[in-house]
């Protein structure tokens, strides 16, 4: 270590300006350009935030718009639940690269956990959400450990088996009251009873939280680790990423999110029966939604969830047709836009940003006031 030169120590301390001396030939220009680029990226991020907040603001106003009735709020809440469940699938399938055909199982775990608590202990919705989410995350963690060595098609089959397993349990263990089902009383938040519109806001709030969670995940070092494991497992391990830990974490988070959707799904209809939850159609629907929407884009679950949830609604009498249309949509997407609708719709947007960045890069001298201040401060140090 004592042989380490001054530059090495600088590198080890990681001071931006000092270490820039390591490559003095490029440093001065690079620093200005870097600040300009960081500036542009920060602006993009701000735009993302504004867009997202606007979207949620519109959604929050929806029930009070003139002409909107309670059943509409109910229907949109159902769609939101689909979208949340799909976000869970996206965490595992999109960002971690593990295809799951079993998330209906986590939906069931969330729904039953909260339903049983409500029935036997008269808990209210927030308690139910926390308990259902955590129970689902716990089972997800176990499943992640059990499936540690599976990937690709084997993972798909394994998770499918998990959905069947959960289905068999809720069908046959008396506690879950099989096809008779569990009826729930009117929903409560803390001590207040809520109706359709109230429930809509609960669903929207959960959706906002899960969106924030996924957003934080994707932008964090943890999200990077998951995507690294997805893209090149060996290389990821050579970067110090603990495969066992991160896979299990991905499973837990994914199960947590879909578990929350499960709690909402049970409480919105206030009836939970194995007829619904033992079916693997939920699992298939969520996977289709994730793939059609684009599982590694934040907007993906939204687009895919809306598509899958609303399709039967618009077809009304022709519900059977929905299965066929979903299949057709899946095939079309896999053939022509394998990254999903979000990628297709986002193309012009991303191209615009890329151009903008390119322009900033070629014209690195134009730095904003704030960045210049930052630069002067750094140089003064």
């Amino acid at each position: 270590m004592n042989e380490m030169g001054a530059a090495g120590r600088r590198f080890a301390r990681g001071n931006a300006l000092e270490a820039a001396n390591l490559a003095p030939e490029a440093a001065a220009h690079a620093q200005r350009q870097r600040l300009a680029l960081a500036d542009a990226k920060a602006r993009f991020q701000k735009q993302n935030w504004v867009g997202t907040v606007a979207l949620f603001a519109v959604a929050a106003l929806f029930p009070v718009l003139p002409g909107v009735e309670g059943w509409m709020a109910y229907t949109v809440a159902l769609v939101i639940i689909y979208v949340i469940a799909t976000q869970g699938v996206a965490v595992l399938t999109g960002y971690t690269g593990l295809v799951t055909v079993g998330h209906g199982g986590f939906l069931a775990i969330g729904a039953y956990t909260s339903a049983l608590l409500t029935k036997h202990y008269h808990t209210e919705l927030i308690t139910g959400l926390i308990a259902g989410g955590l129970m689902s995350a716990f089972i997800g963690c176990l499943l992640g450990l059990i499936f540690l060595r599976l990937s690709g098609a084997f993972m798909a089959i394994g998770t499918l088996g998990f959905a069947f397993f959960v289905g068999t349990i809720v069908n046959n263990v008396n506690l879950f009251e099989g096809r008779e089902g569990i009826s729930l009383p009117k929903n409560r938040i803390l001590i207040w009873e809520i109706g359709d519109v109230g429930f809509y806001y609960v669903a929207l709030a959960v959706f906002a939280l899960t969106t924030l969670l996924v957003y934080c995940l994707v932008r964090s070092g943890v999200g990077r680790a998951l995507m690294a494991l997805r893209d090149a497992e060996k290389a990821a391990e050579s970067c110090g990423i603990n495969r066992v830990f991160y896979r299990t974490l991905a499973f837990s988070l994914s199960a947590f999110i879909t578990g929350l959707a499960g709690v909402l799904n049970g409480h919105i209809v206030r009836f939970i029966a194995s007829e619904v939850y033992a079916d693997i159609w939920y699992s298939v629907d969520f996977l289709v939604a994730a793939i059609v929407g684009g599982s590694s884009f934040l907007m993906g679950p939204l687009l895919g969830g809306i598509f899958v949830a609303l399709l039967p609604f618009f077809l009304e009498e022709l519900r059977e047709l929905a299965f066929i249309l979903k299949g057709v949509a899946l095939i079309l997407v896999l053939m022509f836009a394998p990254a999903g609708l979000a990628e297709v719709f986002g193309r012009p947007w991303r191209a615009w940003r890329r151009n903008k960045l390119e322009r900033v890069r070629n014209d690195g001298a134009r730095v904003s006031r704030a960045s210049l201040d930052k630069l002067t401060k750094l140089e003064a140090r």
């Binding site: 990077r224 970067c239 960045l357």
Partner: protein
């Protein structure tokens, strides 16, 4: 100087093939150590053993006298070891910056704090990004930071892999044929970079390379493997004049 990293009598068999047969290697702190040998001599297998991607049936591994036989690959990074792969193994769909950031994974601190952006996480991210940019600058990649790796030419990709390995701030780095497939100009550039990594950053380097001019000029001393076994050890001059080596290896080529 003290031993930085050492293996003793390592055995690796793949069915009937003995890829490492009683191989020993002692890497001294702060040196550039070459490992050469004909194709199939077991160099990559030895690297896989050292970075713990490959289990071995017999032998011992030491990192600064600590036994590490049962470490997992990700633990080696925490110890201070980084590696590159013979066949480029990058996250090709991601940008150069992302690749380097992934390389600095062991510096993100508590993963849950990072996930939930607890206080400090933002700062850590900023620091890692700044360091990633510095590392890129060290390897002359600063213009490619936002480029998706698969769009980069081969020589650049080799450097991205090196940058990714450096991002973990290793104390020792294993390079498996860093200039293979590069043209003369790129090779000369990489040779300079390897020297800088060693001299300026104080990182111990273990180098597998078929480019003899590079090996002979940068290495402090060299191990020669042949058919999975140690054949010789010595300074470049000693190796070049060692009759066994000339027979087994250099002689065959010339």
């Amino acid at each position: 100087m003290a031993s930085h990293f050492r293996c003793e009598n390592v055995m690796v068999r793949f069915g009937g093939v003995v890829a490492c047969n009683d191989v020993s290697l002692d890497v001294e702190e702060g040196k550039i150590v070459g490992v050469i040998g004909p194709n199939g001599a077991g160099k990559t297998t030895l690297f896989n053993v050292l970075s713990r991607f490959q289990d071995f049936s017999e032998g011992k591994l030491f990192y600064r006298e600590q036994r590490i036989d049962r470490f997992r690959p990700h633990q080696m990074v925490r110890l201070g070891l980084a590696r590159t792969f013979q066949n480029i193994n990058l996250f090709v769909e991601q940008s150069v910056l992302s690749n380097i950031l992934i390389g600095s994974h062991c510096l993100i601190g508590n993963p849950l704090a990072s996930l939930f952006w607890l206080p400090g996480a933002r700062r850590t991210e900023q620091e890692l990004t700044e360091r990633a940019i510095e590392t890129a600058a060290l390897l002359h990649l600063e213009r490619d930071l936002d480029t998706v790796v698969k769009h980069l030419p081969y020589g650049h990709q080799k450097r991205v892999e090196l940058a990714r390995a450096l991002a973990s701030r290793p104390k020792i780095i294993l390079l498996d044929e860093p200039v293979a497939g590069c043209n003369d100009e790129e090779s000369a550039e990489l040779e300079k970079i390897v020297r800088r990594i060693n001299r300026e950053l104080g990182i111990t380097v273990v180098l597998v390379e078929h480019d003899m001019s590079m090996v002979m000029s940068v290495c402090d001393y060299i191990y020669v493997l042949n058919f999975g076994a140690n054949l010789a050890r010595g300074t470049p001059a000693e190796i070049q004049s060692n009759p066994d080596v000339i027979n087994a290896y250099l002689g065959k080529e010339e």
